[in-house]
Every structure is written in structure tokens, then in C-alpha cells.
Symmetry: D2
Subunit: 136 residues, 4 copies
């Protein structure tokens, strides 16, 4: 099950190759995650207020075609794994105009507290955990 959101490419996101700088796709994955959580009724800011952080411990992107300034971009976000201390997402980036696949990526996250120490999320937040589980 996935969540879909869209953005428009910013001038600031381009580089002198005339396309979006490759590092910026990770920011887009992040936007996809935020909207994935919102869609589940979990606002990520609220998680952080409760002291739960989800830092990225692994990130990956495969670039297929370049995104360009002012393109409308679709970000598709899927939760693909949920283990005791980890969460894994997959992303597909499409150009809206012609539905062309531009990039695919993956991020792995740890559940940690404000001091960046791992939390056993399943134990401490069983309800949220179960809700996440239903969205895989």
C-alpha cells in the first residue's frame, strides 16, 4: 500500500548540469514519508514531540531520467518493512506530465529517542506499531 504526494521542482534544486541535483531526491523521499505518516493519521512532528525520532540509517537512490526545473513530480512512498527497531520505505519518483519513472529509492530508519538511543518501538508504542503494520 502506498501514499502519493506531489511537488514542483524548485530552481534552487537544479545544478549546472541543468537538472535536479542528485542529493535532492532524498529530500523528496522525506516529503513522501511525512505525507505517508499524515495519511495514516500520524503527524511526524507529534512523534518528535513525544520523543521518537526516525533517523535515516541507510539511503539509496537509482536515477533513471533527470527531473528538471518546474517539472511536476509525483512521489510514491511505501512502507515495506517493520521490525523491532527498524522501518524501511521504498519510493518511486514520477514526472507527472507523462508518468515517466525518474528515480527509485529506499531508506531504512531506526526508532530512537532524543539522545539518539534505540527504542524498542513495538513494546513502547504498540498501538502506533500495529497501525504501521497494517500499512505495509
Amino acid at each position: 500500500m502506498g501514499n502519493t504526494t506531489s511537488i514542483r521542482v524548485r530552481y534552487q534544486e537544479t545544478d549546472q548540469m541543468g537538472v535536479v541535483y542528485h542529493g535532492n531526491y532524498f529530500t523528496w523521499f522525506d516529503i513522501g514519508r511525512t505525507e505517508f505518516f499524515r495519511n495514516m493519521g500520524m503527524v511526524y512532528t507529534r512523534l518528535e514531540e513525544e520523543g521518537i525520532l526516525l533517523p535515516v540509517i541507510e539511503a539509496q537512490c537509482r536515477y533513471i531520467k533527470p527531473a528538471k526545473y518546474d517539472d511536476e513530480i509525483i512521489i510514491n512512498t511505501k512502507l515495506v518493512k517493520l521490525k523491532g527497531v527498524r522501518l524501511e520505505f521504498e519510493y518511486s519518483i514520477y514526472r507527472k506530465e507523462d508518468n515517466e519513472l525518474l528515480a527509485e529509492g529506499r531508506t531504512v530508519h531506526a526508532f530512537v529517542d532524543k539522545d539518539l538511543k534505540p527504542i524498542n518501538f513495538r513494546k513502547k508504542y504498540r498501538e502506533i506499531w500495529d497501525r504501521l503494520g497494517e500499512n505495509i
Copy 2:
């Protein structure tokens, strides 16, 4: 009295105009400030640890010639004003190769605590204040 530091332009800092994206000069001013403080024997991280933040309340830049990828850049930073709750810096950005002036800027900062409430810095941190005063 000023402080001088240098950086090299990153690919990520360029945009599709083939030059440095204008918003990035504010990041360079920030680097200049960090080094200004270090040069005075004040590490900005330590200020933050003590609960003193210096958010920007005004920022300005005048762009003269564009900086390009891989250019070596000189950042010149001067403290120009110091009042009860405010601090003001001026910056000059030069291309090292030919000493050409590329941009000039200014930032105004407030002294605030971790909740972003103003602090009367002169009163609470007289020693640092006096040290800053000697550097105008």
C-alpha cells in the same frame, strides 16, 4: 577589524544558470561568522550549549559578479554593531584567483535563549560582550 576565511564552491551550490544559487551566499556569511567567533576564541557551538542563540533577524546581499563551481572564495566578515540585544555583521565575498569582489552582505542578529526569547546579553555575559566590543 575583520576575519578572513576561504571555501571552495561546491557543485551542489550551482544552479541551472551555471553559477552559484543566490541563496547560498547566506550560508557563506554563516561560515564567516563561525570563523569570526572562533578567531576571537569563542566557539559558536559552546555559546549554543550555554543556551545563547543568535538567530538572523535581517539579511541582505548585493550580487556583483557570479561565483562559479570550483572557484576559491574568500569570505571577509566584520562585526559592525553591538547593541543591548543586537549584533550586526558585514561581509565581502571575493574570488581568490583575481581578488574580484563578487558580493557584499549584511546580517543582523538578536541574542535569544533556547525558547527564542530575547536576552539582555550585555548584562548576562559582560565578559563576552566586552570581548566582542573590542572586535568592532
Copy 3:
């Protein structure tokens, strides 16, 4: 006459102060400009394809209250001046939730060609010029 567009604050746009990094407001002004042009029926990418660039030659921002992660932000963009080789915009940044004014800014632009040489825009592109003039 102004143009209004909205964005949501990205995690990547925050800094360790827990608020949006001040340099990012210039990216938001840029988004406002893109939408201002689109709203007039002028797509900025098309201007660039025709060899007209609008580099920023001056930029300024006054920060009133901090924007935070996940805030919905309104960007209000106004064209305020149009001279032979220059264009000037003003921006207001609001938090959507309570319509609070967060920042105000200004950018000045030159009309240049692909080699960053000034163009007498009024002469060469009279029709676009006139259309811009109606939007002040």
C-alpha cells in the same frame, strides 16, 4: 497586485535551532516568483529557453517569527518596480494556520542573456514588458 502560493516546510529546511534555516526563505521567494509568472501566463522556463535570464542582483529578508517543520506557508509575491533593465519584487511570508506574518523580503533582478550580459528588455520584448507593467 500580488500572487499567492503555498508550500509546506520540509524537514531538510530546518536547522539545529529547530526552525527554518534563514537562507531558505530566498528559495521560497523564488517559488513565489515562478508562480507569479505562471499566473501571468508566462512560464519562466520558457523565458530561459528564449535566452532571457533574471538573476538576482539584490536580495533582502526581515525575519519576524520562525517558520517550523511541517508548517503550511503562504508566499505572497508582488512586482513593485519595472525599469529598462531591472525588475523588483516584494514578498510576504505567512503561516497559514493563524495568518501570522513570519517574514518580509525583496529581490531585485536584472534582465540578462545567457552570457549574463544585460538586455534592454523593454525594447526587445515589448509585449512581455507591457504585460508585466500591468501587474505592478
Copy 4:
């Protein structure tokens, strides 16, 4: 064989977690690559002027410990593969102070021309190719 360069973490690179935003490590890898080429006597800007671009077609990072504002960072860059149309680099990111490994990454690049079409680099630029080959 590797190349080593160092940077200092910028305030702009942090996020509200109080550490470097994960997407910024890809910018650091980029800096590592630039210095790798310079060290071989090949300036990357000159490659681009000759019409050779090296867009990233795959990027990956594993985050071990977070980098923080003002940390001095060592970027170690190794060319690990060189095939007809591809180039592959590996990176290690260390904190200078205690030589702690913070992250490891990898980027794969294609040789393309200005229209982003693949070039048979070995054939067209045999001398540079051979020089690169000696640096694996």
C-alpha cells in the same frame, strides 16, 4: 588508492534533530570526487568544458554516527570500478577529532555528453581513461 580531503560542518547542513541532514552526505561525496580528480591532475570543470559530464546514476549511504555542526570531517574517496561507460566510487566519512567512522557510501556515474547521451569514454578519451585506471 584513495584521496583524502576535509571540510567543516556548516550550520546550514544541520536539521532539527541537531545533526547533519542525511541528504548532505551526498554533497560531501561530491566534494571528495572533485578533489580526487584534482589530485590526479584532472580538473572536473575542465572535463565539463570539454563536454563530458558524470551524472550520478546510483547513490547510496550507510549512516553510522551523526556528524554535528562545526565537526571537522574527513572525506576519503576511492575509485573502485571503471567500465566502458561507467565509473564507481566509494567514500568513507570520518570525524577528524577521534577518527570515528561516521558514514560510508558509494556512487555510480555514467559518462555522458552535454545532452546527457552516453559516451564511450574509453574510446574517445583513452589517455584520461588510462590515467583513471591507474588510480583504482
